[in-house]
Amino acid sequence: MLSISHIKKVFNPGTLNEKTAIADLSIEINNGDFVTVIGANGAGKSTLFAAISGDFLTDSGSIVLDGEDITLTPAHERARYIGRLFQDPMKGSAPGMTIEENLALASGKGGWLSVVSKKEKNDFRERLASLDMGLEDRMQQPVGLLSGGQRQAITLLMATFNPPKLLLLDEHTAALDPGTAEKVLALTEEIVRDNKLTCLMITHNMLSALSMGNRTIMMDEGNILYDLSGNEREGLGVSDLTDMFRQSKGRDLDNDRMLFL
């Protein structure tokens, strides 16, 4: 499905600020995998997502998605197959445009000069209703008026409007209040399940890292430290994870936002 082999990315090469963000990283993601990604600050989690999405070209190595080599494909073209959500709920939608206009752009249907049809509007309404937030009655309102949780839910809808081959979630509930975060997380699981999406999710919540999905990878220093799935991952607790990190690195897993509960 997604096969990353030996990618490498060094920021500011040759300067005092030189940083190896990704160091010879390889991973194979299978079709239908729901992988949770954890790691310390600066471990390279977000950089890995940025490399997959095409924010920058990797220095070496290759990225193949569903048999197609996308190593050099521009970001906006990769977006056709890759949906992505950020921690900042403001990032995924245009605040000055209405909910309907945002969805119309995300739906990507029709040619450049096509206009949203009545049928599409009904489709938008149904999908919004499935969020259970009352947004279906506010389709003509600017997205900028919505709360962070509502905007993140809309972004989730937009990113999965045409089911992508790969969904990348970069701590997409971290900026929401706990109640809303739980709701958006449940919504995420539902959409991923219903559309049988392949998904990578960065989380700072160790508990949901183990309880959600079928596979967990732990990153450190731009590489993958542990790749846990199946029996190995079954019955694993949060303390086991931190112990594993300490044993292999000789220091504590350190992340100022990480929840160990």
């Binding site: 970001a75 906006h76 206009e101 990507g108």
Partner: protein, 308 residues
């Protein structure tokens, strides 16, 4: 009474001609969030190209040519800022400066062209209307028709997928990219269309006043921006068609106020200072209003400390 009517009509006509440039900025400034400083040069380019084509005997083709010249100018401005790493403000300034030479070259090494004996779209309509009740309104008819077409075009165009993508580019380029659309592409298309309107605006003004000089467009970007911001004050929160009509009304209102000020012996050369002040007021006003509580807090605190 006659003079009031005639002045009013002139103000309306001039307002409508410049409102095409205002609509261009509505697209580039309000929608794409690009402040296109090549507007002055592009306005003159449209005037110059249309004059030269009209003189060579093609009054209708002259307007098409002016718009195409605008597209070319907009394309270069857009290319510089999307593909060649030039800052968007600088791209406009650089193109504007370059256009000065281009415009003189277009006018055949001259900084002034006279259209007194040239067949233009205005003389054509004037001849056609001779003897009818609208004989004196030929300028107004053309101006109204052009503005109506551009407003209609924008209202329909900004509802299409491409139009939505252009609006989103000014709003959140990341979101455009994640909708599998290249923001560079939407910026290029948007600036090409906007500058076509600017070119048309210059062409119509030149043909209606039967002359072009190299300074015809100077300060146009500020005048148009002032009009746009006046229009925004009334219709800034409406739907796209309402806001476009608001921009046109802003341009007319600006001209009407200016005409009245002239009647009260304000010298004509003050136009540009007035438009600068309007732009400053419209942009700074809301900013300073939001800052006022902080200012009040500082003053209050200082008083308390001094009294101690």
């Amino acid at each position: 009474m006659d003079i009031v009517f005639s002045l009013g009509q002139t103000a309306l006509e001039l307002g409508l001609f410049s409102s095409l440039t205002v609509l261009a900025l509505f697209l580039s400034y309000s929608m794409l969030n690009v402040c296109d400083l090549s507007t002055d040069g592009c306005f003159t380019l449209g005037a110059a190209v249309s004059a030269v084509v009209a003189i060579s005997g093609h009054p209708f083709l002259s307007l098409v040519a002016a718009m195409l010249a605008g597209v070319a100018s907009g394309f270069i401005t857009a290319l510089l800022q999307t593909k060649m790493g030039v800052d968007s403000l600088l791209a406009g300034i650089v193109v504007n400066t370059g256009l000065y030479s281009v415009n003189i070259a277009v006018m055949g090494n001259s900084s002034l062209l006279n259209l007194n004996k040239t067949q233009t779209i205005f003389t054509k309509l004037k001849d056609a209307l001779t003897g009818s009740a609208f004989a004196e309104q030929y300028k107004l008819i053309i101006a109204l028709a052009a503005v109506a077409m551009v407003v209609l075009f924008l209202s329909l165009f900004l509802r299409t997928r491409l139009g939505l993508a252009i609006r989103a580019t000014g709003n959140n380029p990341d979101m455009v990219r994640s909708s599998s659309i290249d923001p560079a592409f939407t910026t290029i298309v948007g600036l090409c269309i906007a500058n076509a309107f600017t070119g048309l605006s210059g062409a119509l003004l030149a043909q209606s006043q039967k002359s072009v000089n190299i300074d015809i467009g100077s300060g146009m970007v500020t005048v148009a921006l002032a009009s746009l911001l006046i229009g925004n004050a009334f219709a800034g929160r409406g739907t796209v068609p309402v806001r476009a009509v608001g921009a046109v009304c802003g341009a007319i209102l600006f001209r009407v106020v200016y005409t009245i000020a002239l009647r009260f012996y304000m010298p004509a050369f003050m136009l540009k200072l007035v438009s600068s002040c309007i732009v400053i007021l419209a942009i700074s006003g809301p900013y300073l209003r939001d800052r006022y509580p902080e200012l009040a807090r500082r003053i209050k605190h200082r008083k308390v400390t001094v009294n101690d």
